[in-house]
Symmetry: C2
Subunit: 117 residues, 2 copies
DNA sequence: AACACTACATAGCATTGACAGGTACCTGTC
DNA sequence: GACAGGTACCTGTCAATGCTATGTAGTGTT
């Protein structure tokens, strides 16, 4: 509806900081995935559309922290794929992060309610 | 429980980006407030604790965008206060931002559910 | 051969939040 | 009246992330 809404666009970008890590870890919760596949899966969700230049650095960070581990697998059609799998450490961290995410949501919800008072 | 959990601390910091703007606008939804007061109000909420060096730049940005307007009022005890009040523009933007926030929450919720499948 | 799609990776940029520090007003007290 | 402590505002510097653009390379199609 609005053209070139710089502030809003910028704001949504900022909101994604940190959130993409959470989103990716949660997709990995269902089983191993490779980077390009994650791009497509998150692409299904409007507010989480992502591209390769964003996903690979995140996966590297997560691997450095040993929240995920990776292994290469050949593809029958296309270049080999680098799969990422949640480690136990990663699974625990994910629980913790999801819990923090929930409390953030509740906090904002609280502030919104106070307006209605 | 854990000492010096760099990754987690850093992650929570990143998650706050953009979110603080939303939080502040929502507190202003209940009526005009001055900066220092916002610091105290958000300080009541664990995950949103903020300090002055963070709040004032945000308020400036919001004023530049004309989402809030400010006026000075003397205090009976202490230096004068600069109150910030939501503008109509700000109220509309806030609605839009809250709506985006909700859809983000639903998106993450969706990803978490898929794990359970 | 040219093109498109898959798949991974990196460099440079813009933005934000955190921390530290600075200014200044007011009240109480020694 | 000097000092401490609380109130209130503001700015500069830094670190981290996401975005865009770009590059490499394998596979399949026309």
């Amino acid at each position: 509806m609005q053209m070139s809404d710089t502030f809003y666009d910028n704001w949504t970008t900022q909101l994604r900081k940190g959130l993409l890590e959470l989103a990716i870890l949660n997709t990995l919760g269902a089983g191993p995935l490779y980077g390009y596949d994650i791009v497509r899966r998150l692409g299904d969700v409007d507010s989480l559309v992502i591209n390769e230049g964003t996903v690979y650095p995140i996966l590297s960070r997560l691997r450095n922290e040993q929240y995920v581990e990776s292994y290469i697998e050949e593809s029958s059609s296309g270049p080999p794929r680098k799969y990422y799998r949640l480690t136990q450490r990663g699974r625990e961290e994910l629980r913790r992060m999801n819990s923090h995410w929930t409390s953030l949501h509740e906090a904002i919800g609280q502030l919104r309610k106070e307006r209605a008072r």
